[in-house]
Structure formats: C-alpha cells, structure tokens
Amino acid sequence: MTPGRRIDPMQDQELHALVDGEMSAAEKVALIDRLQRDHYRRTALCELRNLKEMVRTAYEEVPVPASRPAPDDEPEQGRGWLAAVAAVVIASVATLFAAGPELLPGSSERFVLLDPDGKGARPAQAGDEEMRIVFHVSGDDPEKSDEILREVEDMLATYGEKGRKLRIEIVAHGKGLAMLRQELSTQKEKIAELSRRFPNLTFVACMNTVKRLRVEEGVIVHLLPEVIPIYSGVAHVVKRQQEGWIYIQV
C-alpha cells in the first residue's frame, strides 16, 4: 500500500489481522515498521481499535445465548460497524427468546412497543419540533440519579409551560438498574410522581441485566410499576441515537 493515501479502515485486511491478533511476530514487526511511515494507516488502525473496543463494550452487557449459531464467514467488507450493531441486537433478542417470557412473571404483556405511534423513530428536524432525549444510566451513584431526575423534572416543567414538545426516556442497565428496582431505588416516590405528571417521560429497564442478575447472582428483580422493560438497554440507546435522539450518559 502506498504510504500517504487516505484509506477506509474497513478495507484494510492487514490492519484487521493486527487488531485481531492473527499475525506472527515477524509480520507484526514488518507491519508496524511500515505504519511508522504511514500516518493514514496509523489513524485507520486507531479507528479499528476503537471500533473493536466499542463492540466489546456492547457485548459485555449481552450474555451469550445457550444455543449459539455458528458464526458466519468473513463479514461483508465495509459493513463491519452495521454488522456489529445488528449482531448486538440479534444476540440480545436471541437471548431473550432463549430465556423465554417468564423473566418477570405476569409481565410479558408489558413488553410493549415504546412508540405505538411510531413518531419517536423520526428525528426532529426543525427547531419547533419535538425535542427527544435519551438518558443512559449505567452507574448506581444515587447522587447522580437524584440530580438527573431534578434536571429532567425542570426541563419537562419548563417545556410544558412554554408549550414546547419534549420526549424523554431514561434507560437503565447494569448497575444503573438499581434506580428502577423496588428493592434498591432511593427515588420510588419521585419516579411515581414524575410518571404521573409527565406522560412524555418513560423509564426503561434492560431485561438482559434482569436476567443476568437472576442467572449469575440468583437475584429476582422487582421493577417499579412505572418501568417499561426492553430486551437490551445498550441496543436501545444505540437505536435511539440512530433515530436522531439526543443522548446523555448519566
């Protein structure tokens, strides 16, 4: 490859091999030597490593299903990222089916579509259209969740007074689920009150986390009655961002 030409990291098989640890020591040395002289390929390498890290982070939240299909051959070139996102979604859905709907007894009917009108999937275009924000809660610091609920309340009230449209989802997974659990939440009353006052506010819980707690720690999770369960919290916030929602990590 000619040094000094900008390239698509997805197309560079050598870089893939390096990132995936598939090269011998001699091959690595030779490639690294060539990379010294190629700024663009070094940048591409960084991008690939970042991508791999992101995919790995996403997978950390998705337990491997019991009956795992054989992996496909080489993914189509240039579609790595899409394939990764699709894989996360598919893996999480597959996990749920594998687990069956008995995750929360009697709650299967609450696996509803979050957007029955479908409007949430359309990005806001003009300034006067609905503002959509998804808050991603992955930690269990009560100070942070307190603060976020206060800020969300302020925003919902201000938007309401001004007659502007706002839709907010608070998605909890991993340690963040504590906020939405009967056993652990320090904001039960606040969440109940906000849900009553603001129909445009939704609390969403990741069922992968619920299942993981049950399988790995034997903990039966009881969610607050206002909470809507979703298959995968990570896949959901990815989807929301692709749909043009504003994203804030708590």
């Binding site: 000094g4 700024h39 924000i133 603060e147 800020e151 302020d154 925003m155 504003i246 994203y247 804030i248």
Partner: protein, 161 residues
Amino acid sequence: MKRMTTLFATILMTLAMITTGMASANDAGYGKQKVVYHINYDNPKKQAGALRNIQNHINAVGAENLDLKVVLHGKGLTLLLEPEALKRTKLKKANATDEMQAKISGLKDQGVKFNICANTLRGKKVDYENDLYDVDKADIVPSGVAELAKLQAQGYTYIKP
C-alpha cells in the same frame, strides 16, 4: 531507490509533525468539528484523562478546526474547585491543583470553553468568583443537562470520556 523513498517519507513525516494543527488536520481529513465533552464525575484521574483526550482530539483535528466545549455539572465541578475552597462548599473533592490548572489553562489557550451549571453552583454552595479556577460569568449556563441537549440539537457531537 527504495531507501531514498523511505528517507523522503521520513522527512515528510517529521515536517508534518513539526508544523502545527493546520497541516495535520488537512492530512487527517477530519474537516471542521463541533464537539461537547460531558464531565459529571469527581475522580481526579478520570478528569485528567478527559483533559488528555481533549488535547489528543485537538492534536488530531487542529485547534482552528475545532469548536470544543466542556460541560461541567454535579460532581464534575470539582475539576475547577480550588483545594482551599473545599470546606466552603458541599462538594466532596477539589481537584483544581496547580497541575490541573495548568492543563485547563493550556486547553483554554487553544480555544476550549468550559461551561458551568448554575443549578450545581446553587445546590453545592459554590461561589464561582472565589471558589472556582478562572471562571467568568459568561461561562455559566442555567442547566448543564439542558445545555448538553441544546448543543447536541445545534449539531455538536457528544462525548463522555
């Protein structure tokens, strides 16, 4: 011949590294970027790491191609809280040591803006004029969270390091 090419490439690389942002930005082909960094945690190592990310970001894209804001709210305000002011406030850490201040002012010299949440100033009993490092009235925003939403609606890319 091959050695000549190698030598030439090495010289070019060195030149590119010496010249400032403009050249590297054009080389990397990133174009102009609007970015907002979000800090709401008080771990000084994580905060210093975030500042390092920002410096790397500037190095890659070039300061003149980058409109970069940092929104601080909640525990994130500790980044600018001077140690002697700690007792006057309800925050639990004060991370604006001399070393941290140098990093912050280095970033400001490259055009980075730090925005501070007024709700947090009130809630944590922080007086921005006396307790925080180099904060001016124009740096205060009514709500850090609402600011994050507003900036994203204006096309800023959100990064939480």
